[in-house]
């Protein structure tokens, strides 16, 4: 982690040269790693990636996301996952293998308007992403509040090794589920703490480019909680 110097880059900028692996939003040409978006470059463990400053959510396999049920057909649900693709949640994922379209009613488990925590099971850009909720801690969300931020700001919200999100959670005792698609579920003990948490999240979203943001958020939360 020695050379994790962050640099602002624009498309076409050469980030580094050498035997690095091209991760997100970069291409490798003649041993040069070139950015394809406007963002902050990051080099870690022989990987080079650029965290974009703006953009939509591109599904990635194994991403934890928050989805909203917008419709269902006989064998599957359609989820709004805040992307240009809509998520596809097959019925047998919820009902099990012995699902029968005759006897099982899809709306008995998930209704239009329900929110779910889910994972991207499969995705290849040619089809809508396949979603799964068959895992621990996945499924319908019954409480909390949905907060929407730009998907590109999600890594900043989590922070390096989760420092940023831990700062917020410890200061407000909130539980925050972060979907990689920019949708978050925030649960708090009371309304006051909830609005403080949301304020902090929005602050990170608007000031994501600022240095020492973790300290700023920490001091803001401490001053707020002290009131």
């Amino acid at each position: 982690m020695e050379n994790d110097k962050r640099v602002y880059v624009t498309p076409g900028d050469v980030i580094t040269t050498g035997p690095y692996r091209a991760d997100q939003n970069v291409i490798c040409q003649n041993n040069k790693i070139i950015s394809t978006v406007v963002g902050i470059s990051e080099i870690y463990d022989n990987n080079v990636k650029v965290i974009p400053l703006s953009g939509i959510y591109m599904p990635k396999v194994n991403d934890l996301i928050i989805g909203k049920v917008i419709s269902h057909i006989s064998l599957s649900w359609e989820l709004d996952i805040n992307s240009c693709y809509s998520g596809f949640l097959p019925a047998h994922d919820v009902f099990g293998r012995d699902f029968s379209a005759h006897s099982d009613e899809l709306s008995s488990r998930l209704n239009i308007g329900d929110l779910v925590t889910a994972k991207i099971a499969n995705f290849d850009k040619n089809r809508d992403p396949l979603i799964t909720i068959a895992d621990r801690d996945l499924g319908k969300i019954n409480s909390g509040e949905l907060v929407e931020i730009s998907p590109s700001k999600v890594p900043r919200l989590i922070g390096k090794r989760g420092t940023m999100i831990q700062t917020i959670e410890s200061a407000t005792h909130a539980s925050i589920i972060i979907g990689q698609n920019g949708w978050l579920i925030v649960s708090c003990k009371n309304q006051k703490l909830l609005s403080k948490t949301i304020d902090a999240i929005k602050m990170i979203e608007t000031q994501s480019h600022v240095a020492d943001l973790t300290d700023k958020v920490k001091s803001k939360l401490e001053s707020d909680v002290g009131e």
Partner: protein
């Protein structure tokens, strides 16, 4: 346009109502703040951009001579349309208007027509042959609920700020008289007040989130004398007689406040 609101937010909105609160911390009978700019379109005879909360509408007025309707030869023409632009909301698609947009245009048109805001009988050049037509087009540029009131205020402000060009008949053809403009014959200022009914609570000027949760909505349009001249009820829920009475009182009480704002844009002699 149908937007699906997530259940958590819906429950929150309905839960807050029990504590006499709204999701955007307004009072039940408090419309959102409104800003109006007039003359935003140079080539139109009159125009207005209105922002009602985050809902944003641009209305343009075009005045031109036209043939009268066969059964209304002694009256000018007034037509009001509306269009939700795709940039207004992610769920809006380009294409022919849907039922809801047609309803929107008709309710706005009805409000202006039935209050007799425009004295159409003064817009006749020659009876049964040539009259002046006033066309109002509303373009919705941002959708955050309650397009009825936003479009109505935008159309009204645009008409109030319009000048009426003069035409004279030469060989039975209307010819524009340059640099001679008068005031549009206005008799009253309509004010539309839309109320949402959510779980038997009446809220004025619902925003987009409340719009998706409400059981029924009711739009009432009053004239300057405080009489209700037009009304539209929508949504699958029902409205009781007492609610209807309460809604009428709300519409009549809110009318003068908004009329005062709109009146600022009226062109004086």
């Amino acid at each position: 346009m149908t937007t699906i609101i997530d259940d958590l937010k819906k429950n929150k909105i309905l839960g807050l109502l029990k504590n006499e609160k709204r999701i955007d911390s307004r009072g039940f009978l408090e419309p959102r703040s409104m800003t109006i700019d007039i003359d935003v379109i140079q080539k139109a005879n009159g125009s207005a951009r209105i922002e009602l909360g985050n809902t944003s509408v641009i209305a343009g007025v075009k005045i031109q001579p036209d043939k009268p309707f066969p059964d209304l030869g002694d009256k000018g023409i007034f037509i009001c349309t509306a269009e939700i632009l795709p940039l207004a909301h992610p769920d809006i698609e380009p294409g022919p208007p849907g039922e809801d947009v047609i309803e929107l245009a008709r309710v706005v048109d009805r409000g202006i027509r039935e209050t007799s805001m425009l004295d159409l009988s003064k817009l006749v050049l020659e009876k049964n042959k040539s009259v002046i037509g006033i066309f109002v087009d509303n373009s919705i540029t941002n959708c955050d609920g309650n397009l009825f009131d936003a479009c109505s205020y935008a159309s009204t402000a645009a008409i109030l700020s319009s000048n009426l060009p003069t035409w004279k008949l030469e060989n039975e053809q209307p010819v524009l008289v340059e640099d001679q403009e008068s005031i549009i014959p206005i008799t009253t200022i309509p004010v539309s007040v839309t109320m949402g009914i959510l779980n038997d609570y009446i809220v004025v000027d619902p925003n987009a989130d409340e719009w998706e949760c409400m059981d029924a909505r009711i739009t009432m349009i009053t004239n300057s004398d405080g009489n209700i001249c037009a009304l539209q009820k929508g949504g699958s829920g029902s409205v009781t007689y007492d609610q209807l009475k309460e809604c009428s009182q709300i519409a009549i009480s809110i009318g003068p406040k908004i009329r005062k704002i709109l009146k600022q844009y009226q062109i004086d002699n």
